[in-house]
């Protein structure tokens, strides 16, 4: 299989190369990171419902809609991407496509473990360390291929992520920030100095070679560059970004597998902020300490004080 170990590349290239491979019917593995930040919507995300566009515009954050699933993500140079494109008829793909995550995520799990994280798979598609998600993943059919994409979080700007999403109010935004800090983790939480790109990409490439056989290092060729350029126009086009998507009656943001923050309307026009975790629902106004247990880092505990603000009736 071809390996495109590209290190830092233009933000749009980090999405368009794997789409281009898929549309060209070429298998390959891409490892890279974006040299500048951007916001990426899932195929069925509704732009108006999900994004605070004025915030993104003010920050100069470009938008792109990918053809894989999952939700809105903020992406920057503190995330290392690994993207695998396989032809639909590749015999390694199971009939139930979600089952392949187990295979696809092994190299990232081993890389995280190598650098000291107690990383493990949380099915179907999360990598967690001590129950906290440390990798974002998505997949989908593109052209005659399937693409599985993921990233490893070296660090993450929780403030920015909670600001760029459209939220019903400041209380929800604060809860979102604290909940993300509670249920997500990054290599920076565990290591005084996160591994370099070279260290991580080497570990990932070795893992993928172990899973899928020898990798043939190469650079994008003319055909791939041309297709990626064409796709940039389409995936960032205003009409494509504005396609109607999955609308929900209540504001609901997925934080990790089985964990959602929800604003739920109730009597007298008031609304409540609920945390749904593994089927259990908790009203955060009733449990201001929910997100500040001993498992949260000191920084997170500090941020959890935001919940007191909500509990105080703000």
């Amino acid at each position: 299989m071809d390996l495109y170990d590209l290190a830092g590349i233009d933000w749009w290239s980090t999405q368009c190369y794997y789409h281009a491979l898929a549309y060209l019917g070429r298998e390959g593995l891409i490892i890279c990171y974006p040299t500048s930040p951007y916001v990426c919507l899932g195929l069925h995300d509704d732009l108006e419902q999900e994004i605070d566009r004025s915030y993104c515009e003010a920050r100069g954050l470009p938008l792109l809609r990918r053809e894989t699933g999952g939700g809105v993500v903020y992406l920057d140079c503190n995330q290392i991407f690994f993207q695998l494109v396989l032809r639909r008829d590749n015999p390694v793909l199971p009939l139930k496509r979600q089952r392949f995550y187990k295979h696809f995520l092994q190299p990232a799990i081993r890389a995280c473990q190598l650098f000291g994280l107690p990383a493990e798979l949380r099915e179907p598609a999360d990598i967690v360390a001590c129950g906290r998600k440390c990798s974002g993943n998505a997949a989908g059919d593109i052209g005659e291929c399937v693409a599985y994409v993921g990233n490893i979080l070296l660090d993450f700007d929780f403030d920015l992520m909670s600001s760029l999403l459209w939220v019903p109010g400041p209380g929800f935004k604060e809860c979102l920030r604290v909940a993300m800090r509670r249920y997500l983790t990054t290599l920076a939480d565990w290591l005084p100095v996160p591994p370099s790109y070279l260290q991580l990409s080497t570990a990932l490439a070795a893992g993928f070679a172990g899973e899928f056989g020898p990798l043939n290092r190469r650079l994008p060729d003319e055909e791939l560059e041309a297709e990626a350029g064409r796709l940039k126009q389409r995936l960032t086009d205003r009409s494509w970004l504005s396609l109607p998507g999955h609308k929900t009656k209540e504001r609901r943001i997925k934080i990790a597998e089985g964990v959602y923050l929800v604003e739920s309307g109730c009597a007298r026009g008031e609304s409540r902020i609920l945390l749904l975790r593994d089927g259990m629902t908790t009203d955060l106004a009733d449990c201001p300490d929910l997100l500040s247990d001993r498992n949260i880092s000191p920084d997170t505990q500090h941020r959890a004080s935001a919940l007191e603000y909500i509990a105080d009736g703000a």
Binding site: H44, Q98, G140
Partner: protein
Amino acid sequence: MQVDKRFVPEGLLYARNDYWVKATADEAVIGLTAYGQDVTGDILYLELPPVGDSVSRGEDSGSIESGKWVGRLLPPVTGTVLERNSVLEEDPSGANQDPYGVGWLIRVRLADPSELEVLLSPAAYREWIEEQIRREQEEEGAL
């Protein structure tokens, strides 16, 4: 409510990519089979083709998102979309819970009724999904 993935009603035609077709004169209703929805998993969102659009057999005509996966909607026959199941756009769970009833996807005017001849009978489709289920079990062991 879980539907039996082996449920294959009589009176319909089937495609190997797990769609059913109910043909009447020059029209057909299309849906995902019980086995198809089982392989897909819990459906979160369905993007169906608009009324008036032409769809072609086996060609990308929409998408189906389930959990951490987006698959393509590949209709088993060619035609013009006369109606789409708008209920599923708000709540796609019908495609999982009642795939042969409230979970139908689109109704089309057939462009080439001879395409129906290559579809499978219920008995042939039952054989097909048994093969697939055996393959799934092997995969489960391998993974």
